[in-house]
Symmetry: D2
Subunit: 338 residues, 4 copies
């Protein structure tokens, strides 16, 4: 039985904890750590039968019984704890992004090279979503022929707080980074150039905090295909997560998930349910699957499906997008120093 | 150039007139007749370039230049004018139903036997609707295998006036008759038995007029398959016209048509347009096609696609349904005397 | 912590076991019993941490630590074990149907009257399905006004084995019974009369075993509304589970669930996924919810949401449908002796 | 009765001719002219009752009885004939684009200033499509709030011949020009900057002819909103014409039209019909409406709904897109000399 420690007892840390206790036979959670550990979190740990609850994550790294850690702490600590955990020979599941600074990600990758037995996975959960998987499968199966155009719509139901916006690294590294990962995952080709158009249309305060809230990003891929992402921080009808791949033989599209297929027809129209509200509703099953695959990679000594390099590439694209927006010109990924 | 007379200048008569002038190259309208011919109708005839407008339809039957007549007068005159027109050697397009009294329909059929060169077509327009045609085509092409179950939903947006209800012949002969025709058309098999459950749920006044407004009718077919029709005189969201054929290899379904595919997503839901309001909107193209095929049958000496026997059968089914409702038991079509 | 015993370690017994271990905090499984307990079942019990695995279910009933039992054994044992469990003061979750013989169900109800503290729930899982719940909610919320017509389509992807057909009690009691329950659940009104049309269109062997495989059943309800169910034992495209309620203000419909929303457009058409294959896929979440509600009813001393009377009524409707089919006439529920 | 001359008896000229004869009461076609007038075209003119058929369009311009001309000749003659027709005091309906050279369009506009009584309309037919109209209406009605993002997908089923590609003015001026018009129509705001990414993915011969066949074009609008268009010259599943407007209060989307709503479910999936094949099928009704509105503008002395300026703007955007593609940078519309 694999023993797991969760670093960061916030929402996403507990989501992963629930997944392990419900779905993962081969693992159990031994400890949870959070510098601001509160009563609710302690109670949750107790209910889940987690023996140890710390404020200092180092106790997890020092515990020789613990095989793997989930890094669910604030973004600015991801790379630091990653390096420490690798050095402590713990397998690591790290929430995205590894860091906003590519040199720090580079250090993580260097550390992994020194510790080749350590498994490292980045939390790009959308790769496990039933819909996105179906798009990729259709592409892999050749159902659309050679891919020509990928379209991703990705819109949040509510912008984050302005305090969060300030430390988020900007919309491209915080939100679009998932879409950049999807471009690579769905098209199986690397991005070579990015052009980002963006604006502040949702909330002026976001602009005052130095960020944008609405964007259209065009990406040129190594294989000649193109991708386009459109983002908004606020979609009135809920979390909008769609994709289309168009190719020489046709197209595959996915729609949003909703809580039921009920459609009510009245004199006012024919009304279906809104999409599920946000990522926790839409991707709950995907979160469970990514953790299951992480544990499986450890137990059966497989490569992790989303490795440190997969964690690095979307950050590079994000930085190129930032530069593109600032300079209003297409920017090559190779312009971003690494 | 075929010359046509229209008997009955009401709504449906003018719909057919428009169709001929727009779409049918080989025919022109020479005359229109209506006992209550009003100024609006006269003006319409003038605009369409129709030379003659009468109050007495016999002038049309007596005109040796006129080759064909469209009988669009009130239902109780259909069989009488049909017989007179056949005797006058005019080809006849007769609105449904030919008569509520099968013995009268029998007389029309007898008259047709005496005048084998006369073409006779009944106005079951749904056979020309793009959706219903697609269902039949899928069945004919074997896409659903052997048909097992046909489901028809047929609901009007508004009940007719109580005055009309009283002379309509009852819902089964007035409204469901189209659905009975669709059962025969889509399944290519004759109905042998009917069970009708009905109630007055929309408007008590309809019940007081001796009719029902809501029904579920089960039909057993010669080929062993079954069909079910559900009717309502009032659908809040508009004209609901759907069908499904389920068979050994699968199913074909059709949805309603609406004015556009626009879908508006807001915090209140994901809302599409209602179905088109009523038969004139939904079946306008079908009306044009049925008249085109009628003229084509004359010009090219083909069988009419919906003949007098196709006019008779749904009336027999309707009478069996009435008997079933009254006696609350399944009724064989063979019980209806003919 | 509530202690539960599972009687019957077949597929559905283990589905409920999984649900309890994953989702139900307040309960744990102490024992499982099956007369034909095999190695796979024993292994499963061990993995789930179930301490006891018996061949004799009476050991469960005799265990004073066990608070509740799930009766997942073969249908012919449901009522007998129900009575014994009630007498042993165990709360009972019983798979449907309680019995094919209403007098036996009556005995269960009598036994419950003698033991008013015992909770009894029948396994009509569809009441917990997200789609069917949404239909009921729309009806309860008045979104469709007064309900007039309910349509249920319920088709299995594959017929059961002929051996099973012989002991199933017939399609109406084995398969349609769920739909009869849905009529009561969705319309909140009792069925007063049934007319069943049925045939053998899927497999002659089913007919030779004395059953039918295709049916259309019309039901008249106490509130004046009508319902119609269509069934097939074999749907080529998978498990077809849809419903529509039409009323004075509109309609609510539900569609099938599928594994993803992926739609592939090629020169051959625009193709979506088939519905989920069968009940285990489609209703997995519903199974979890019904067990959760059963445990909740015990822990918080609530009425069970589907009680013994709810178990009886669909059997009465099923028996009336059998009689209707045999005698080819509408049959009142009151004709079924109870 | 307005008298109309059609210059150019190709496909689109005859489409407009059919529309006038079927739908436009106030106009009749007096003459048709085509330098390569063939027997089929002469026969068509005869059937439509068109008295005159010329090889020289100047005979139309010289006919004092003719009030209006439809310029449906090859693109390189549009501006020249426009100017001559305006000088001859004929009202002009001109197929798009007026010219590939903005200085020539400028001359047309100058000529119109000199002849203020002449009505001039450009053939942007999509403005009359039921779906695109519904999108605009939703935007105008405020259903989506302030528009933030417009997405247009516009893909042809088949690329044109290489001979045509060579004289087409390039994909942006030949095909995307409709989409540029839709951006202005749907968003009611002018384009200020364009960034075009393009490639040759469909057919190398198109690249050898100096054009592209696949593109993603991002547009910044005066009101701060953004638009993105994706184009392909070859969509395996047919003509793909969709749009979405996303705004502060929600989103409006439109789907493709198909010949019927039939959906066939089999063991292979749930398959709907492909979109209608190409523009003649999809936009037939729109063609009729644009001509009807042109005639109406003349008869009732209204402004034409798509004037010469509306003909100019998309050409400017197209030229900016060409420059953007060539220089791989965003290009302001103001950079295009006019």
């Amino acid at each position: 039985m694999l023993k797991v420690g969760i670093i960061g007892a916030g929402r996403i840390g507990r989501v992963h904890g629930e997944s392990i206790s419900k779905y993962v036979k081969e693992a159990e959670i031994k400890a949870i750590a959070d510098p601001f550990l509160n009563e609710e979190q302690k109670k949750w740990a107790k209910e889940k039968g987690i023996p140890c609850a710390y404020t200092d994550y180092k106790k997890i790294l020092e515990d020789p019984e613990i095989d793997a850690v989930l890094i669910c702490s604030s973004t600015d600590t991801h790379s630091k704890i990653s390096i420490e955990a690798i050095q402590a020979h713990k397998h690591v599941f790290c929430e995205k992004p590894i860091d906003h600074d590519v040199s720090r990600i580079k250090e993580v990758i260097e550390e992994l090279k020194k510790n080749p037995s350590v498994k490292y996975q980045v939390g790009f959960n959308r790769r496990y979503d039933h819909n996105f998987k179906a798009v990729r499968q259709a592409v892999v199966d050749g159902k659309v022929g050679e891919p020509h155009i990928l379209k991703i719509t990705s819109r949040d139901p509510e912008p984050p707080s302005i305090d969060y916006v300030k430390v988020s690294g900007g919309m491209f590294l915080d939100m679009t980074i998932h879409d950049f990962d999807m471009v690579r995952y769905l098209m199986d080709s690397e991005v070579v150039e990015v052009y980002a158009a963006g604006n502040v249309l949702v909330d002026k305060a976001i602009g005052e905090a130095g960020d944008i809230d609405t964007a259209i990003i065009t990406l040129k891929l190594e294989n000649g295909a193109m991708a386009v992402i459109d983002n908004s921080r606020k979609s009135a009808y809920g979390y909008d997560q769609r994709a289309e791949v168009f190719g020489s033989k046709g197209q595959v599209t996915i729609a949003n998930d909703s809580n039921s297929s009920a459609v009510v027809s009245t004199e006012n129209g024919v009304t279906a349910e809104k999409p599920m509200f946000f990522f926790l509703e839409r991707y709950m099953q995907a979160y469970a699957e990514e953790i299951t695959e992480f544990i499986d990679a450890i137990v059966n000594d497989k490569n992790t499906p989303v490795n440190a390099d997969d964690g690095l590439k979307p950050v590079l694209i994000g930085l190129a997008a930032q530069k593109s927006l600032k300079e209003n010109r297409p920017v090559k990924i190779s312009e971003i120093k690494f």
